[in-house]
Amino acid sequence: MHDKTLTQLKAGLDAGDFSARELTEHLLARIEQLDPRLNSFVTRTAEQARAQADAADQARAAGTNAPLAGLPLAHKDIFCTDGVRTACGSRMLDNFVAPYDATVVEKMQAAGAVMLGKTNMDEFAMGSSNETSYYGPARNPWNTDKVPGGSSGGSAAAVAARLTPAATGTDTGGSIRQPAALNGLTGLKPTYGRVSRWGMIAFASSLDQAGPLARTAEDCALLLGAMAGHDPKDSTCVDRPVEDYSAALTGDIQGLKIGLPEQFFPEHLDGRIGDATREAVRELEKRGAKVQWVSLPHLDLSVPAYYVIAPAEASSNLARFDGVRYGYRCAQPQSLEDLYKRSRAEGFGSEVKRRILVGTYALSEGYYEAYYGRAQRVRTRIRDDFQKALSEVDVLLGPTAPECAFDIGAKTDDPVTMYMQDVFTIAVNLAGLPALSMPAGLVDGLPVGVQAIGDYFREGRILNLAHAFQQATDWHEKAPAFGGEA
């Protein structure tokens, strides 16, 4: 059962081939057996999963058919889950049992999904390798010496290892797309404002967006349909009808105009990744797409702009973790200042502290205009570049990440090199556009991802492009050898 995609599982449940409870038990057992080698889950919610599965089976028997009834999934541990620990990869929240459900969690539950557990992630979503997690790194099932990417690394590893058919993730600078690429998955970051952020622990509020990680575009369409929609509890969540994403998957991309931003193919790009990307372009051309070069002239400034804006927002968003009302508190604080400073020094890991310091500095008196002000203006430039490019073509295409999964520990001593992991993904968050990563090849037995970027609220269009590609190729069907014995 674990080899099936979400869509296939849905068909299996509908046909009565197996029950939601059987499916859930199978996956729970698989997680139990295999996850110790991956560390992709930080919390398992077996009891809840069984109850939800039974409820789904009963509802199905009674003739009601919620869109995700009985389909298992895992939530990134950044989403608050009522009564279940929500640690966000941090010692700071190691004891935090969320008092409410995130809207995404609520919506998935309302759609009938079964929550298997919460997945590992970089601490407060700050990282591209899952190595900043308080719970230790999750491992890449394609090669367990390698990172699964981040920050939604646990979600990606779990889906790639077939421990769950799907998982939620969040993407602030590439945190869905890069792990999807490194694990051979399809992962989508929707338009900013398409999915509610209520209950999603904030990293950088103007960039954060939740989305699905699954094996196929078809599955992502199904999941996004359940996640998206207006939420009056999130002021930045757009009140606009949700497209029928599954219906958008016609597989027809005849005449679709694809733009290749020249900056996505720099000279120093790993040739094998460039080749895989160009191969994907040729495949799409074969199916009728028209391809042309475009330019995003300010793309090289996206990483610097991001590493001001995201830490600045984070420095403020993470100020609430002060040891007063919840979360980690240092032992025997001697004074209020001691309580703050030690709780935060001990509760946060070093990457989070670095970013808080950078963000605090960038907003401080005398530096605001030089850093934050300029970064916001550069952000405008970057958005304008995208708008211009997307007035010429329908979709932008390029590699998702500059390299395949790298060794655990290879970049932990060098934050700036780590930041360059997101060089192709970050600009999309700055602009607020939707983008997905789809599997497009293997290099040395490790997956390569290709990124498709669409115009605002055109998730259906990029999903259809990926669907068309997946009808023509089988990269999305490649599975790691990991766990094959189970």
């Binding site: 049992v97 008092p99 338009t191 900013y192 404002g193 103007s206 960039l207 009056p232 002021s235 930045t236 757009v238 009140d239 300010h298 090289d300 400034l301 610097p304 702009a305 590493y307 001001v308 420095s315 100020a319 007063v324 009302r325 919840y326 979360g327 508190r329 604080p333 001697q334 004074s335 209020l336 200042e337 001691d338 309580l339 400073k341 935060r344 020094a345 070093s350 670095r354 808080i356 310091l357 950078v358 605090t360 500095y361 530096y367 030089a370 850093y371 300029r374 916001q376 203006r377 550069v378 952000r379 405008t380 430039r381 958005r383 934050p415 700036v416 930041y419 700055l430 607020g432 605002y456």
Partner: protein, 95 residues
């Protein structure tokens, strides 16, 4: 703009993060590398460009003035590191 020790200390104080003596050197080095990266912004031509705070050009939605919050007090107080008579406790604040 490389930052010196005093600035790092002041910034850490603003952020209420205690700096450990042991990792201070390492931290200065890392922070300066990061600032070296973001200093590329100084070369950007942004004359006459408006700052962008939000990805979408939308207005703030409004909520009707209604009491809708449910009582979470018991759940909330259970999360508190130190609590007495329904209040969160902190070391005495001298005014």
């Amino acid at each position: 703009m490389a930052i010196d020790h005093t600035t790092v200390e002041r910034t850490a104080h603003l952020a209420r993060i205690r700096l450990e003596d042991g990792d201070a050197e390492d931290l200065y080095g890392r922070l300066n590398e990061i600032l070296g990266l973001v200093d590329q912004l100084q070369q950007a031509d942004v004359d006459g460009i408006e700052p962008m705070a939000h990805p979408l050009d939308l207005d703030q939605p409004l909520r009707p003035d209604e009491v809708t919050a449910s009582d979470n007090r018991d759940k909330i107080l259970r999360l508190a590191p130190a609590e007495e008579d329904g209040c969160f406790l902190v070391p005495r604040v001298i005014e």
